[in-house]
């Protein structure tokens, strides 16, 4: 695959054949689609009708965006940039791309010079030899807490609830109620989702679930797919880890001595199939042709009927989503023999190695993305249990992508701390998504955000730091594998398509690739192989 090609082209071509609404959608991506999408009307909260109010909120969004750009240390704090470049020993390496990327940016959406400069910096940042963090903008200037007012209400409110301070909690809920809005800037939206979550947490589940935000499961399948594709187009939140996953599958295949073995992918993810057309296309162009048979076993997330808000974000699609079932015909058009099988209603904690029908004749690769955090992280430690099951399948490679945030150390028992971390996760999502959609309202945006907001009420401990995950992987008998040049370069190129506040990092220590938003970690991707040395001992672990 040529790197400069937009990733989604083959997919869009294919969809244009099969999905009739797509062309008109592409012409007018921001129309609110009121013809077919009526659910939001029932949410009861109208758009702000007052022109002044609307203006002021839009004004906010602009201000925030401007702050975000100017706060970037590359622009506002040249010394730190120069310093960072020196540390990497090869600042020049980053610069040849400057004019090119700048040019491309201008062509794409007419942005000015500042962005071009930042893009250049990003190239430097993404340098392979770079240290474990992107530019030094993880300080205050790059990620200004002061502007994040919603958290300054939500966290004290959670504290008051935790302390059973009724008067205080009620006061803050009143204020949140006034400031929350499902439209507007990321803060208003965060307040809205946070208020819902706090209500949900302290009141009866059924009443809240009935009026919850729009989620995947409540959408119409075509719209669901459209939303996903739109999100992939504007945000690297999933596109980036998916891209790395696909490229590392190719990397593993290339390392296999036998090119004619079948490929079997165990898909434990949240891409709902959207990531695979790109891989299939790449396989079809592989020297020596695609594997004779490609199998994808999808471990579908188990929907909980009673409490939708408790589900893992992004994991449950709407009933009737047929994306996977249409993949084989797409593959066929590329002369790939693709088989899809689904494991339904298999909670991850109950997944047995026997359920995965793999044969020794095939190359098994496990792709676990943003799902494993749903498992308990201790008492019982379901995460390690599950990784053992994976280990017992003896895959040729495991790709693990997860949210990269520390979880609360106190066993998740501390409600307030846990809540504030969830809120922080959601803030990064909403803030970056606001930039991704350029502050514009759309139903696609709303459904993605509604899905992300499940993080606030999700039953599992949402996040665990990268180090902890790596520790778990090593403990069950995996050894970290470094991503090859193609995967890194491909990821870096992909990232340039998106907002300048996105950055990537390559860890020298463990080979993980990190995705960062405004200097804060969002997610990490890691690649693992069996550790042959401790193979015999693994049973004792």
């Amino acid at each position: 695959m040529t790197i400069e090609e937009p990733e989604s082209n083959p997919l869009l071509d294919w969809l244009e054949d099969s999905v009739s609404f797509l062309p008109s959608f592409l012409d007018d991506p921001y129309s609110s689609g009121d013809v077919w999408w009526d659910e939001n009307r029932n949410l009861g909260r109208d758009l702000i009708s007052d022109a002044n109010a609307a203006t002021s909120i839009i004004g906010d969004a602009d201000t925030v965006a401007v702050d975000g750009v100017s706060a970037n240390p590359v622009v506002s704090d040249p010394p730190s940039f120069v310093d960072a470049s020196k540390k990497r020993k090869a600042p020049e390496e980053g610069f040849p791309g400057t004019s090119q990327s700048q040019q491309r940016r201008k062509n794409r959406n007419g942005v000015g010079e500042n962005e071009g400069i930042v893009a250049a910096a990003k190239k430097g940042v993404g340098n392979r030899k770079s240290a474990n963090k992107p530019t030094g903008n993880n300080g205050n200037n790059g990620y200004n807490k002061e502007g994040r007012w919603a958290e300054q209400l939500l966290n004290p409110c959670a504290t008051a609830i935790g302390a059973r301070n009724l008067t205080r909690a009620q006061h803050l809920l009143f204020v949140l109620y006034e400031l929350a809005s499902p439209t507007g800037d990321a803060n208003h939206r965060l307040a809205d989702h946070g208020l819902r979550a706090l209500n949900h947490i302290v009141s009866s589940t059924t009443s809240s679930a009935a009026v919850g935000p729009i989620t995947f499961a409540s959408t119409e399948p075509k719209f669901f797919q459209r939303s996903l594709l739109k999100f992939y187009e504007v945000s690297p939140w999933f596109a980036f880890p998916n891209k790395i996953a696909n490229d590392s599958i190719l990397q593993i295949l290339a390392q296999e001595p036998e090119k004619t073995r079948n490929l079997h992918i165990l898909d434990i993810g949240v891409s709902h199939g959207v990531q695979w057309p790109t891989l299939l296309e790449a396989l079809s162009r592989r020297s020596g042709g695609p594997p004779p048979l490609v199998r994808i076993t999808v471990v579908a997330a188990a929907a909980t009927e009673t409490d939708q808000m408790g589900e893992t974000p992004f994991s449950i699609g709407p009933p009737g989503d047929s994306f996977y079932s249409r993949l084989p015909s797409f593959a066929k058009s590329m002369n790939i023999n693709l088989q899809i099988s689904r494991l339904e209603n298999q909670p991850l904690q109950n997944l047995k190695a026997e359920s995965i029908k793999n044969s020794p004749e095939e190359t098994l690769i496990i792709c676990a993305q943003f799902r494993l955090h749903h498992l308990n992280h201790n008492t019982p430690d379901e995460r390690t249990q599950f990784l053992r099951v994976i280990r017992s399948l003896e895959p040729k490679g495991v790709i693990l992508s997860e949210n990269n945030m520390e979880c609360s150390r106190s066993n998740g028992g501390d409600f307030t701390t846990g809540f504030s971390r969830r809120v922080e996760y959601l803030w990064r999502f909403l803030d970056s998504t606001s930039s991704a959609f350029k502050g514009k309202e759309s139903d696609e945006r709303r459904v993605m955000e509604g899905e992300a907001a499940k993080a606030l009420t999700n039953h599992g401990e949402m996040n665990e730091g990268k180090e902890k995950w790596c520790e778990r992987m090593r403990a069950v008998g995996f050894v970290g594998e470094v991503f090859d040049e193609d995967a890194i370069d491909g990821a870096r190129t992909l990232l340039r398509k998106y907002d300048n506040n996105w950055e990537m990092s390559v860890e020298e220590k463990d080979g993980c690739v990190g995705l960062w938003w405004k200097g804060q970690p969002v997610s990490f991707c890691s690649l693992w192989k069996l550790d042959i040395k401790i193979d015999e001992n693994s049973e004792q672990l």
């Binding site: 949410l43 109010a53 609830i161 209500n199």
Partner: protein
């Protein structure tokens, strides 16, 4: 209404359906059934109760929560909903008042303290401005408009000294108002409420009683304003049926030494009016002025005293229609006056709430409580006179709110909390009993207005005028003599 409020989800936190324990560690069942919703269903919300309960962390007013709950259920902010019953409108107004109080307090919280966040304050003030108006709407909306404006000034760092960019107060303290507006507003305030006359009458009655047998009386007035207090005193003096003819009265008005040119002019004006009035009723009067030093401190030596005059010190502070005087200035006046052995000291001041040392937010809530009582009383006094009240609010209360918040903000709420009547006892002045007649007069005065007003006797020498549960003005009388005259 400008902003639609999502009524598809209520504030369920206190709902009767609170049955879920979301986690073994957080069993809400233990907590929520405290409130018996069925038993609580009255319709009126008293913001003051809310403020009080918020000032007291332990306190929890069940009525108010029940009301919030029931109102949040019935409320619809949709402007299309014209069929709303009058009763519901009242509920909506009440509920909106509560929302405003919560927002104001949250804005004050965001301006100071450990969690200070000017961004949060800014967002809250934007929301408040959507909800309030200084000219229309309910009492609470107008009050909130002035508080919002004052908070905006604090946020922008001008703290009451700001320029012309604001909604209402516009940096025009009373100095910028037209003289005509001031007088009209004063007249209205006097007609609408007992605030002006309570202080004047109580002080004057005490003066009359203290100088019954004196032929020459010298009154030193700290802040004479328009001089109306002395018109009523002279009226009383000439109309005394028994006793000797009216004594000679000398009034010395203190004037500010600083750049307050207008102040001098105004004192002169007041003097002219008083002289003319005295002549018209046959009361012998002389009028003097005495300058305060440039830092507004009082030098007793600057005062011209004549032997044989009974000296009366009159000190009216921070009443709704008075301008602010610094604590240093007041202290220098009272302590300086003490050295002159006055026959009588009359002191009328604003009653500060009991919360002391709670920082800016505590003082802010006290201030909100105080002014909401004043607004409430003015509305109860003349519910139909919206425009008249708006004038009084604009001319007197708005600037007072801005000034008051600015001071407590700059002092971080640590401004002296000691009331002057308490302080003055420490000077060695002795309390003078408030006479039965004086007390009756105050009750009579208050009886002319709404029955929400009340007069309390606190101690032998102090009377307090309150509105419902809130004490607003305190009048006390003192002497330097060893025994009462």
């Amino acid at each position: 209404m400008a902003m639609a409020v999502d009524n598809t989800y209520e504030l369920d936190l206190f709902g009767s359906s609170t049955t879920t324990a979301f986690d073994e560690d957080h069993n809400w069942k233990e907590w929520s059934p405290v409130v018996d919703w069925e038993a609580l269903s009255c319709d009126q919300i008293d913001y003051q109760d809310l403020i009080e309960s918020m000032m007291d962390d332990q306190g929890l007013d069940l009525d108010e929560i029940a009301n919030e709950k029931s109102n949040s259920g019935s409320i619809s902010m949709d402007s299309a909903d014209d069929t709303m019953l009058v009763d519901d409108e009242a509920k909506v107004d009440n509920f909106k008042g509560l929302r405003l109080v919560h927002l104001l307090i949250a804005a004050a919280e965001a301006l100071t303290g450990a969690n200070k966040s000017s961004e949060l304050a800014r967002v809250i003030l934007i929301r408040l401005k959507e909800l309030v108006s200084p000219n229309g709407g309910t009492n609470m909306e107008r009050l909130a408009a002035y508080f919002t404006d004052a908070l905006q000034g604090l946020l922008e760092g001008s703290g009451g000294r700001h320029g012309n960019r604001h909604l209402i107060t516009n940096g025009h303290g009373r100095d910028n108002h037209l003289q005509a507006d001031l007088l009209a507003a004063l007249q209205l305030l006097q007609d609408m409420s007992p605030y002006v006359n309570f202080g004047h009458f109580t002080a004057n009655q005490a003066i009359l009683e203290a100088v019954t047998h004196d032929r020459r009386i010298h009154i030193v007035d700290y802040d004479i304003m328009e001089g109306i207090q002395w018109a009523s005193l002279m009226q009383a003096m000439v109309s005394r049926k028994e006793g000797p003819p009216a004594p000679h009265l000398r009034i010395t008005a203190l004037t500010r030494g600083g750049p307050g040119r207008r102040s001098i002019w105004s004192v002169q004006e007041a003097g002219r009016h008083l002289m003319a009035y005295a002549a018209s009723i046959g009361q012998p009067l002389s009028f003097n002025q005495c300058r305060l030093d440039s830092d507004e401190t009082f030098r007793p030596s600057a005062l011209k005293l004549v032997k044989g005059e009974a000296l009366v010190i009159n000190c009216m502070l921070h009443l709704p229609h008075f301008s602010y005087r610094t604590a240093n200035s007041v202290a220098s006046f009272l302590s300086g006056a003490k050295t002159l052995n006055p026959r009588l000291v009359t002191l009328v001041e604003e009653e500060v709430g009991p919360i002391i040392g709670r920082g800016f937010v505590g003082r802010f809530m006290d201030s909100l409580h105080h002014f909401s009582a004043v607004y409430d009383s003015l509305e109860a006094g003349c519910p139909m006179e919206g425009r008249a009240r708006a004038l009084v609010e604009r001319v007197f209360l708005g600037p007072q709110i801005a000034g008051s918040l600015g001071r407590i903000y700059r002092s971080e709420g640590e401004e002296e909390g000691c009331p002057w009547w308490d302080w003055i006892g420490g000077l060695g002045l002795k309390p003078v009993n408030i006479s039965f007649a004086n007390h009756c007069q105050a009750k009579l005065l208050v009886g002319l207005f709404n029955d929400g007003y009340r007069v309390e006797e606190l101690g032998s020498n102090r009377m307090v005028l309150g509105w419902k549960s809130r004490r607003l003005l305190s009048a006390s009388i003192w002497t330097s003599y060893d025994s009462e005259f």
